[in-house]
Symmetry: C2
Amino acid sequence: MENGVTHIILDLFLVLAAARLAGELFERLRQPAVLGEIAAGIVLGPLLLGWLETTELLTALAEVGVIFLLFTVGLHTRVSDVTRVGQTAIAVGVLGAIVPLALGWAIMALLGSATLESVFVGVAMMATSVGITARVLADLGVLSRQASQVIIGAAVIDDIVGLLALAVLSGLVEGGVSYLALAITAAEAIAFVAFVMLVGRRAAERFCAVAQKMWTRNPSFIGPILVCLGLSFLAEYVGLAAIIGAFLAGMVFAETERCVKLHDAVEPLYDLFVPFFFVMIGVRVTPGAVTESVALIALVITAAAILSKLLACRYAARGLASREAWIVGVGMSPRGEVGLVVASIGLTRGVIGPDIYAVVVLMSLLTTFFAPPVLRRLIGTRPPAAAPTPEAPHPPPW
Amino acid sequence: MENGVTHIILDLFLVLAAARLAGELFERLRQPAVLGEIAAGIVLGPLLLGWLETTELLTALAEVGVIFLLFTVGLHTRVSDVTRVGQTAIAVGVLGAIVPLALGWAIMALLGSATLESVFVGVAMMATSVGITARVLADLGVLSRQASQVIIGAAVIDDIVGLLALAVLSGLVEGGVSYLALAITAAEAIAFVAFVMLVGRRAAERFCAVAQKMWTRNPSFIGPILVCLGLSFLAEYVGLAAIIGAFLAGMVFAETERCVKLHDAVEPLYDLFVPFFFVMIGVRVTPGAVTESVALIALVITAAAILSKLLACRYAARGLASREAWIVGVGMSPRGEVGLVVASIGLTRGVIGPDIYAVVVLMSLLTTFFAPPVLRRLIGTRPPAAAPTPEAPHPPPW
């Protein structure tokens, strides 16, 4: 057929195969597969082999990938999970978001960066990657441990805080420094989130009840997917990031018992699309960006990101036993996808240059590399991830 | 975010929502959902509303959609299914492919079309849509009836015959009328198909055994998907259509018991991607294509397509009881996706113009409209598709 079609199939094959092989390699080195996927992107991208570049199709698939990632995270996030661990999680989430923001902002300002650029770095340091953290905890088999529940609750809270900060920042970028525009963006963002959270669960129940009466196949799968895409679009429309809509859509359906098997049906989409997001993160690391000064700033920012999150969260969790509080601190430190999303947005809008983008990507990678081995030592209950028995039920995606 | 992302999400939402709503409407009118999806494309496309156009992304998703459609068809096609109903199915399949080819070719030649164009129309008339036929039979609950088994076996055979004819035709288009190139293409095509069918099953067993030992999540889902994409690419590489590779990949894994749950995992991909193929079929119907003379030719070609398939298959199935033989004839008549694929290929390569493309699309639509009500009358065992009970196990995709 025409070359376009051949290229499409080859690109898809290349991304999925490389992501899977690199993920497998990293898992066997006791590192999260997601790091392997980013590494695969760096290797296949313009920085090294040059086999992949930022095409319209791959960008679109990466966007759909991050939407389904946050949808899946939302699907596993019940409002009750967030509230049950209560005050500790809230303290950890809020303090663990604000301290890194302040520290990152201050450091970049001291290094002479522009205000917006400094704030971008701070915002990228705010949010824990709930995906990476919880997946590591699941691999270690300690999801029901007290520290784990605090981490997941807090990670969700600081995800929301971080995403709201991102929305405020987006308003800031688009509307200049108008405080009115800022207030409107914040109000819109909060109103959107509040509306979906308040109305969402009942609407989802009704929605699934209607879907069940449809004659076409699998309506209780495609219905929620449409809600996910619809809320993602609406989130963009009111100035928020699409992933906020996707996350809320997931959370809305998390407690709906009528749309059965939704978790199972979304898994293949997760497996198929999410790697595109992480591989493209690597592909976007352009040649020449990692100069000596970039590496130096990246190390400073990484140290600040780890220490600020670790100490702020450990302090906020001081009500727990000492070891548990340290587990919380370490477990909150990987940044992963949210930091990377902030960096991508900053780069595509021209607010941060390729050098600061590389700093944030390195910070996200290094903080994510840091946590798993330390967590394993602190928890130390059982040997990490023995090879799973064939076709044993897989752990949830994190 | 940037407009590109908003547009991507909106396009995806629009295609999926329109396809689902139109599909639901058509199902309630006792017509296959797939016709609703094509109709949705015609309505949303440049012919009427103009909300959708042929973008790079939508073209790519349509291509992935048809790949997953044929992969799914292959997954439900065991070699033993094809051979069990034996000689009758082979006779029905072969005769039901050759007679429409000859009649379509002859009619178009008599109407003054160029040779290649005439052959394209004939080839588009060859293959029964195994998807549409078997889905209708499943909806009527008669998949185990003797006539149904003959239809499915024969439809698979004439699919393969049709796909091979398409490969030969592709070689013809690319290499001119060189008989050597034709022979090489045919030999390559047959060698590729034979190699995959001979080596495929054992290779798939080994492949799944290796995949099970991987640590990353759901390897026995993503592995076969990679094989599907890989064989699709290889099929293109040797001059065949990508869908032949996808179909063979599916058939290779159909009898592999090690890659469990593959059918379930592929369903969401089917639901998500396949509508793009059918909606884009409708979107590609350009304004002005359906002139009076196009409509007239389309009616002649449609009548020829129905009568040639119906009578050839009824004759080939004369060993069965009379009513069963008629069921076979009618059941073989819908053309659906394979005819549409041939038409798309002819259009994108410039071998057929938009007028003949419209003729083939109308023929595919009309033959597909014709079969379900007539089949229902002939079979008449139970009232068609009562509203399914909530979350009852859905029938397979056809």
